[in-house]
Symmetry: C2
Subunit: 109 residues, 2 copies
DNA sequence: ATAATACATCAAGATATCTTGATGTGACAT
DNA sequence: ATGTCACATCAAGATATCTTGATGTATTAT
C-alpha cells in the first residue's frame, strides 16, 4: 500500500511530471533539468529524490555530473502510457523544445 | 496537465485507494463504504468527491442512497492495472472480506 | 408537517508538502 | 591544499491536504 501511495504521490505534482516527460526522451543531468524547467537547483534535486524514492527513476554518477533516467523496470514502465495525454500539453511541448535546442551546463556533458 | 495531476493526486491517498479497490468489485453506497472502512461519513464523502472530481468514479442517486461506481470510460480504466499489486495488501483483503460478509445500511439497498 | 435516514458541505485544527536560501558533500582542476 | 563546479540536504516559512465535528440538503416514512 505504502509503495503504491508513494508512486502516485510522486506523480501528483506538475514539476515532477515535467521531469518524467523530459526523461522519456533520454537521460539528463540535474543542470540540464534546472535550465530547462527554469527552477532552482535545490528544487529540482528534491523532486528528483522523490521520483527516485518512488522507483520511477534512477541515477548514475559520471564525474561531477549525476545523470537521471527513467527506471527501465517493467512495473515502472507501466505508468508511462498514463502520461500520454501530456504530450499535447503546452508546457510539456515547450520543455521538450528547450532540451532539443539547448543542452548541457558549462562544458560537458 | 491539471487533469493529470488531479488524477494522480486522487490516487495518492490510502483511503481513496481502498475505496477504488472496493468499487472494483461493484457498485457501493456511502453507508456501505463507511462501515467497511470504519470511518466517519464526512470523511468518506470527501474522498468520494475527490475521486469523482478526478473522473475515477461516478455516482447515481437511488432514493435516499447514492451509489458510487468506477467510471467505465476507457481512459479511466487504464489506471486499474496499476492497482493490481494492492490485491496482496492485507488491508485491501480485509476490506473485501468485510464487503462480502456484511452489507447495506439499515434496510436497503 | 414532522421526523428520520443518507449524504454533502463547511469550519477549524493537525499534518504534510512545496519552495527558497543557506550550508554540506564529492569530484575535478590547478 | 585550495578553489570550483555539480549536486544533495537542511531549515523555515508558505501552501495545500486531511480529519473531525457541526450544519445543511434531499428523500422517504409517518
Amino acid at each position: 500500500m505504502k509503495t503504491t501511495v508513494r508512486l502516485f504521490k510522486a506523480l501528483g505534482d506538475p514539476t515532477r511530471l515535467r521531469i518524467v516527460k523530459l526523461l522519456e526522451s533520454g537521460e539528463l543531468c540535474v543542470c540540464q533539468l534546472t535550465s530547462a524547467l527554469q527552477m532552482g537547483q535545490s528544487r529540482i534535486s528534491r523532486h528528483l529524490s522523490i521520483l527516485k524514492e518512488a522507483g520511477l527513476i534512477e541515477d548514475r554518477r559520471q564525474g561531477k555530473w549525476v545523470h537521471y533516467r527513467l527506471n527501465p523496470e517493467k512495473e515502472t514502465r507501466k505508468v508511462l502510457p498514463l502520461l500520454k495525454p501530456l504530450d499535447s500539453d503546452i508546457i510539456i511541448k515547450k520543455d521538450r523544445m528547450y532540451i532539443v535546442s539547448v543542452s548541457s551546463c558549462s562544458t560537458e556533458p
